[in-house]
Amino acid sequence: MPIYGTAILGLCLIIGTLLGQLIGRAMGIDRNLGGVGIAMLLLIIFTDRLRTSGRLTPPTQSGILFWSAIYIPIVVAMAATQNVRAALTGGWAAVAAGTLSVMICFTLVPFISGPSGPDDDAVDGGRDS
C-alpha cells in the first residue's frame, strides 16, 4: 500500500525534526538544528533495512517516490511565495553569493581530483554508462 511508504516518510521527518529540536535545546538554542538532514539519513537507513529484508514492495516505494518526484514543483510554489520585492533591495548579495561560490568551487576541482592517471576509469566500480 502506497500509504505505508508515505507513512515511513512522514515518520522519518517527524523523528528528524524532533531530534533537531532536542539538539537545539541541548545547545541552548530554541531552533531545529539539522532536522531535515537527520530525517534524510533515517529514511536512507530505514528503507535500506526494508529493502534487504525484501519488505519494500513497489506500492510502498510509490508512496515515497511521488513526493520525491513532486519536489521541484513544490520548490516552484515555495519560490512563488517568498518576499521577492524586499529581497530585490539586496539583490546584488544574491548575485555575489551565487557567482563567487561557483567560481571558487570550479577552481577547487583540480586540487581535489589531483593529477589524472591511468586509474581514472577504476572509479566507476563496474558502472557502465
Binding site: L43, M78, G91, F106, V123
Partner: protein, 257 residues
C-alpha cells in the same frame, strides 16, 4: 461573463491547494517546453520554473503589497500550503530515497572530501557576502550561506533558524544563480579544470552540489559523466541541510558573537 468569473474565483478559493497544483503544473510545463525548444536543453527546465516562481512572487507582492508573494492573492493562497515548510521538507526528505549507502562508500575519500569542501566553502562565501552587504546576524549569514550551497539548503536553513522571508528569498535567488551558472559555464571551463573523466566528475558533483546545475552542465560537456556527478551531488543537499542549521550556524554564531 463576470458571473462565471465570480464562480470560478469562489471555487478556486475554496479548493486553493488544488488550484495551486494546477497552476504550478502549468508553470512547470511551460518551463520544460521552453528549456527544450528555446534553449535546446542548455538550461534545465527546473531552473526556468523556479525563475518564473520568483517572478510570480514579485508580481504577487506588487499587486497586493504583501510579503508572501502569490499566496497573498486570495484564490492563490494554496501556493502557501504547497510551498510551505511542511510539504517542502517532506518532499526534500523523499529525494534521499533510493540513495544507497554502499554507492556512497564507493565514491571514496575524495568524494567525501569534495562534499565537505563544497558545502563548507559555499556556506563560508555566502556568509561573508551576507556580512559585507550588512546582514550581520548569524541567522541571516547562515541562510545566505545555505543559498550559496543550493536553493534548497538556503530555505531549509533559514526556516529552521527563523530567518525573515526576504533573506530566504535572497538565498533562493543565490542558489538559482549558482545553478544557472553551473549549467551554462561548465562546458567552457571543463578543459581548464580537468573535467574529462569519471573521477573528476564525481568530485565536481560533490563540490558544486546543485543537482540540476551539475546534471545540466555535465550533459552539455559530456553526457557519459552525468551519473558520476549526479551521484555525489545528491548527497550535497542532505549534507547541507544537516550541517547548515547546526554546525555551520553555531560556528558563524561564535564568529560574529
Amino acid at each position: 461573463m463576470s458571473e462565471i468569473l465570480q464562480v470560478l474565483e469562489a471555487t478556486a478559493t475554496k479548493y486553493s491547494l488544488v488550484t495551486a497544483f494546477a497552476a504550478v503544473g502549468c508553470v512547470v510545463w511551460i518551463s520544460y517546453w521552453t528549456a527544450e525548444h528555446l534553449t535546446r536543453g542548455r538550461m534545465h527546465g527546473s531552473a526556468i520554473a523556479i525563475m518564473i516562481g520568483l517572478l510570480l512572487a514579485w508580481i504577487g507582492g506588487t499587486v497586493t503589497d504583501g510579503k508572501r508573494g502569490l499566496a497573498d492573492i486570495e484564490f492563490l493562497a494554496g501556493f502557501g500550503i504547497m510551498g510551505g515548510a511542511m510539504l517542502r521538507d517532506l518532499a526534500i526528505v523523499a529525494t534521499a530515497f533510493g540513495v544507497r549507502l554502499d554507492e556512497f562508500v564507493k565514491t571514496g575519500v575524495r568524494g567525501i572530501v569534495s562534499l565537505l569542501a563544497g558545502v563548507l566553502v559555499s556556506f563560508m562565501i555566502g556568509a561573508i557576502v551576507a556580512w559585507s552587504f550588512g546582514y550581520r546576524d548569524a541567522v541571516s549569514m547562515a541562510t545566505l550561506g545555505g543559498g550559496a550551497a543550493t536553493y534548497i539548503v538556503g530555505p531549509v536553513t533559514g526556516s529552521a533558524l527563523g530567518a525573515s522571508s526576504d533573506i530566504i528569498a535572497l538565498s533562493v535567488a543565490a542558489g538559482l544563480i549558482k545553478s544557472i551558472l553551473v549549467m551554462t559555464l561548465t562546458p567552457f571551463v571543463a578543459g581548464y579544470i580537468g573535467l574529462n573523466n569519471p573521477r573528476s566528475a564525481l568530485i565536481f558533483g560533490g563540490l558544486m552540489g546543485t543537482t540540476s546545475g551539475v546534471a545540466g552542465g555535465l550533459a552539455a560537456t559530456d553526457e557519459r559523466l552525468v551519473p558520476y556527478g549526479a551521484m555525489t551531488a545528491t548527497f550535497y543537499t542532505g549534507l547541507g541541510c544537516l550541517l547548515g542549521p547546526s554546525v555551520v550556524f553555531l560556528l558563524i554564531q561564535t564568529a560574529v558573537g
